[in-house]
């Protein structure tokens, strides 16, 4: 490991410790690390968008005489008119265009993928114990969210099965969340362990 790499490694370890210090209580070291991340992220994103999008789609297209791009550029400028009290009405055309396109493109395909395909997968194939359990679980979960009837008798029992089904889902989600959060901690511990080993080695 070179000296430069070791210096960056040290910076990484120190910032990790600054962030972890929040677990004891809020402090200036944590605030420094937090603001550093926010600042670097904002600066990086702004420059990335400028160089990979604004330059390519606005500056270069105009320089190359690709005049069709003038339409989205005008719509983009229209968006900025939102900040003018007198001309804010212009922004409505840009927003209307954007919403119109987004809705037209997304609604049919979203209905297909998120509703019809999922409904179909709930019912078909109806050939295993698992598929029967899925149907019972889905129907009972839907019963739980039906509030126009008191949850008593057979309906109450079905809604009770529904809440248990939901609890199983939440449990799976919680377990995976714990795994994800622990993974973040473990990655930093491994990083710091490797740093110590590199320090001893160097």
């Amino acid at each position: 490991m070179t000296t430069i790499e070791l210096i960056w490694y040290t910076v990484g370890v120190l910032l990790t410790l600054c962030v972890f210090s929040f677990l004891i209580k809020d402090n200036p070291f944590y605030k420094f690390a937090e603001r550093l991340v926010a600042g670097v992220a904002a600066g990086y994103w702004t420059m990335l968008v400028f160089h990979t999008n604004f330059r390519d789609k606005v500056i270069l297209t105009m320089q190359n005489g690709q005049w069709a791009y003038i339409i989205p550029i005008l719509l983009g400028i229209g968006m900025w008119m939102r900040f003018s009290k007198k001309r804010s009405w212009i922004s409505r055309y840009s927003i209307a265009f954007y919403i119109g396109i987004s809705t037209g493109v997304s609604v049919p395909v979203y209905m297909y993928t998120a509703i019809f395909k999922q409904m179909s997968a709930t019912i078909v194939p109806f050939d295993t114990v698992t598929s029967v359990l899925v149907i019972i679980g889905v129907l009972c979960s839907l019963f739980y969210f039906f509030f126009s009837k008191a949850h008593t008798g057979a309906f109450g029992m079905a809604s009770r099965i529904g809440i248990y089904t939901l609890m199983v889902g939440f449990g799976a989600g919680f377990g995976l969340t714990v795994m994800g959060r622990v993974a973040l901690l473990v990655q930093r511990v491994i990083y710091m362990k490797d740093y110590v080993l590199a320090l001893i080695g160097s």
Partner: protein, 274 residues
């Protein structure tokens, strides 16, 4: 009974301390934990393994440094597996911070196999609005990305000769820590019918198993456990398999705390009822 009341009001910093201690143990004394592979991870592995040299697939690197711990091992293993088999990869980022992640890994893994940008892989860079990007890549890569990340025209890249759009790749593997996965399911699979597989963070994974059952995705790598499974299958290891002993001990402690707090809850509730 006082013990349970004390446990119910335990300062959370004691829990942090316990977790800190148990994650330090494997760092000092390493040990191995067996990792069983699941069908959803195996399907992603098989998809790449069954491809022939020179065939294309799309790899989406759509995560930022906050998801690095879980998702970076997946990228590492997949890139190693693909480059070792001489597959052609089209890589793009629909999440702004993915660029840095992709560039680092491509330099490291690509360099290891002597792979060159524009010949063995094409790194397209970043574009905003994932839905529009997926739809336009379905028509022509050159509409979304006239130039690659390094500013070279796609038409002049040897790897992009004879490949026009996403229909020309065998499938899509998207590694993401955000809602880009939804866009690939909705537009990539729903609109165009591309075979899509996802590598996701643990937090997200539970919400995407339904798409596996419905066939809208053909494979799923869930969190660090999935990454460890992929490392085991491919034989290319970074921090996935290494994390599992830490995970095992941490989960054991968290389970212990859940059991203690539940006993404490019922014990104190009974006392309150009296």
């Amino acid at each position: 009974m006082i013990f349970w009341e004390k446990m119910m009001n335990l300062d959370r910093r004691w829990i942090y301390l316990c977790i800190a201690i148990v994650v330090i143990i494997p760092a000092i004394k390493t040990f191995k934990v067996p990792v069983a592979t699941t069908p959803e991870v195996k399907k992603v592995y098989d998809f790449i393994e069954e491809m022939k040299p020179g065939e294309y697939f799309y790899l989406g690197i759509d995560y930022d440094p906050s998801n690095l711990a879980e998702l970076d091992p997946m990228t590492y293993s997949i890139l190693n597996q693909a480059f070792s088999k001489d597959l052609k990869i089209v890589i793009a980022c629909l999440s702004q911070f993915g660029v840095g992640m992709a560039e680092t890994r491509l330099a490291e893994v690509g360099g290891k196999y002597g792979k060159k940008s524009g010949i063995d892989y094409c790194f397209l860079g970043y574009r905003p609005y994932p839905a529009i990007c997926i739809l336009t890549m379905g028509v022509d890569f050159r509409v979304t990305f006239p130039l690659d990340y390094y500013g070279v025209s796609l038409d002049s890249l040897p790897i992009m000769q004879g490949i026009k759009n996403l229909m020309d790749v065998k499938g899509v593997v998207d590694i993401t820590g955000g809602n880009i996965a939804d866009f690939w399911i909705t537009y990539g699979n729903g609109r165009f019918g591309y075979p899509v597989a996802l590598g996701l963070t643990g937090v997200m994974s539970a919400d995407y198993y339904q798409y596996l059952q419905s066939g809208q995705i053909f494979g799923l790598i869930p969190g660090i456990k999935g990454a460890a499974e992929y490392e085991k299958l491919s034989g290319f290891e970074t921090s996935g398999l290494r994390s599992i002993p830490y995970q095992t001990l941490s989960h054991a402690v968290i389970l212990l705390f859940i059991i203690i707090s539940n006993i404490g809850y019922f014990a104190t509730r009974r006392r309150m009822a009296k």
